[in-house]
Symmetry: C2
Subunit: 414 residues, 2 copies
């Protein structure tokens, strides 16, 4: 039997046991894992070094090397995050709704684990701990498939997890790592409907697109963010500029940063040159329409391709529009349904924008950078869903749960 199938069976066999564990038992396992991570720091770092050395020998870019590194600080951060996760409310077992039918049948809708989560992810080895701990907290078993470039680190971290599980009341086999990182094995994993209840890809667009296109197991899609800021006629100048700078520059490489600014013509007439200057002071390269180009210098012409691009960099497109409706149409055409914002003092326009823009999160007078599980107050985040089913927007622990109806009767028949 292949490594994949064998491990899929191992994790699947733990689900009934895991589903019945108490919150204290799960939190205790997370606390033990936190301690083990600190105690096995030297082992983890030495295994991680093998990935780093091989990466350097293979000419991996330093920014990718940086993402691979597990140093003392990063391991301490992971250990600390586990203790914080243990403090969070456990959604499993919650009775979400309860009602009785005229025939006396009592119905409870309860939260239960999903079962087995298949996690497919790229370089960062911290995802190994992150994904495994979020799954364990919610009573799920997890089959991990990381990238070959982090295989030593991931193997070491899963050994530490299994050491911790052995000291806990949770089943030892609940977390498994696929050591064969070939594409063939990943493709087999996409079709493992008998063992996996969901696949969660974490990484770049290409990885996610491949999983979505090829998986028959249901996927939780965390997609790209081509996000917009619309500055309406009545927007306060300082607020609009401050939010534009924040949403574009505070961390340009993330999915909730903005890529295009749409500016209402009258506002643009009065304030666009100031917005351009502020962006350029912050080292942002601007691609603009003719109106925008006339309001500043060093602006290249924005093309159709600009409006379709998630720059993930200090580049922004600026386009002027006549109405809120034109802004909405642009966003619904080019956006990726992630995070969108309107800056306005006109409440009617805010309502129209928020109702008609199709996105996971729509903001009025605030930066798009708040689309994040921690900023929302969830205390944890598995990713930001851009699909419409199951979970949309920042996903906290509840996104890792399913439901089960419990029905109590006294002999009811139909």
């Amino acid at each position: 039997m292949s490594d994949l199938l064998q491990k899929a069976k191992l994790v699947k066999n733990t689900t009934t046991n895991l589903a019945t564990k108490t919150t204290d038992q799960k939190n205790n396992a997370l606390t033990i894992l936190s301690r083990e991570l600190r105690e096995q720091k030297a082992f983890i770092i030495s295994e991680n070094n093998k990935d780093i050395e091989r990466g350097r020998a293979n000419g991996l870019h330093e920014s990718l090397i940086d993402r691979l590194i597990l140093n003392e600080q990063r391991i301490d951060d992971m250990a600390e995050a586990l203790l914080q996760l243990a403090e969070l409310n456990d959604p499993i077992g919650d009775v979400m709704e309860e009602w009785s039918r005229p025939n006396g049948l009592n119905i409870q809708k309860t939260r239960v684990p999903i079962g087995v989560v298949g996690m497919i992810y790229e370089a960062r080895p911290n995802v190994t701990i992150d994904a495994a701990s979020l799954c364990l907290k919610t009573g799920n078993a997890v089959l991990l498939r990381g990238s070959s470039s982090a295989i030593y680190s991931n193997t070491a971290l899963v050994k530490v997890i299994q050491d911790a599980l052995k000291q806990s009341d949770l089943p030892n086999d609940a977390v498994q790592l696929i050591e064969d990182t070939s594409r063939e094995t990943a493709s087999q994993m996409f079709k493992l409907n008998d063992y996996l209840d969901v696949l969660i890809p974490r990484g770049g667009k290409k990885l996610i697109d491949t999983v979505v296109a090829n998986a028959s197991v249901p996927v939780l899609e965390t997609g790209a963010g081509n996000c917009h800021l619309f500055i309406d006629e009545t927007a306060k100048k300082e607020m609009a500029i401050e939010i534009a700078i924040n949403a574009k520059t505070q961390r340009p490489s993330v999915c909730n940063a903005i890529e295009t600014i749409l500016v209402e013509k009258n506002w643009a007439e009065n304030h666009l040159s100031e917005l351009i200057a502020a962006l350029q002071d912050a080292d942002v390269e601007i691609h603009g329409d003719s109106f925008t180009m006339a309001k500043g210098s060093n602006i290249s012409r924005a093309t159709e391709e600009d409006y379709e691009t998630e720059y993930l960099d200090k580049i922004v497109a600026i386009k002027t529009v006549e109405t809120v409706q034109e802004a909405i149409n642009h966003i619904n055409r080019y956006g990726t349904n992630h995070s969108e914002a309107i800056i306005t003092e006109n409440d009617a326009n805010a309502v129209t924008f928020m109702n008609e823009v199709d996105a996971a999160a729509v903001y009025h007078n605030a930066s798009t950078r708040f689309t994040d599980g921690f900023e929302f107050g969830f205390g944890a985040e598995i990713g930001i869903s851009t699909q419409k089913l199951h979970a949309r927007g920042p996903m906290g622990l509840e996104a890792l749960t399913s439901t089960k109806y419990l029905l109590h009767g006294n002999g009811q028949i139909k």
Copy 2:
């Protein structure tokens, strides 16, 4: 452009408009459609006759012909169901949760339509009205793909729907039927991620398996029901027998009927012969283990295959077990996670069974036949989900909704 792509674009273009329609506007459209169905009865029946005649000419089995037929009574029933649907609560626009963050940002989690629903279904033409009306009630556009055997009926019904939409405030193009019923077109539909937000297959196991295996669009899976009844040691004899007869015979062809009865040994020693007699009196064929065979006559030996089979007929497998744990293990091995029941007066065993059996609905002292949107009190049903994501168990209107976060600030930046 193909018929499929053209219609996919038409429906997709209506989603923003549809999402902003009021409950009154949507209910008004359903009421107009109800009237149009009654007024265009002759047209519908005459088109339906073409399908019936072709079906008979092709030697279609009479039971399938019966499923195809649209007569006056059935059309009146559909018209009546539309008026009942108009009476149901509209989930769209509900604020499900609302909270504020320490920085003053206010977050609302609201219910919104999913967008475009792709519906792939077999013979019964009433699904055309059923699916379209549930989608319209929840502000969704819908692309329908019925079977070739019902193409005249489906085309007529969609014409009636479009006539009704033209008299309503809803966009005319919100419901479209793919007239090309080839497999190639269905396969293209499976991959239409740019236009469809979800695919819902309705029909037999083969259809559903094909969609799940091949679709890259997210699927709402409504699967098979290999359901069990476990009669525990302390089960009241009359209740256990009455529920067994009801769950097996009241409508054997549906997914929430039971296929295997597991009986605790001591109960079996005292009462199994009476259960066997009652089942046989109700014309149920029994496949049993050795213990069961010794308690009655005309019982064939149950094999591994029996335990895996959803008979959907007046046949039942009976197996004796020593403990509740043995029953749970059998169910988690052979069941399809649909509906499972325990009959017992022992509350501890009921709790163990309900916690450890992995199914959408688990019953204590009631028939599995209640797993149904109407029996649950939802007033409508799109199907019964056997998957873990998005919706599990009977799906009412809420299963056709997604969520959107609306965030109000006064200049918050990160």
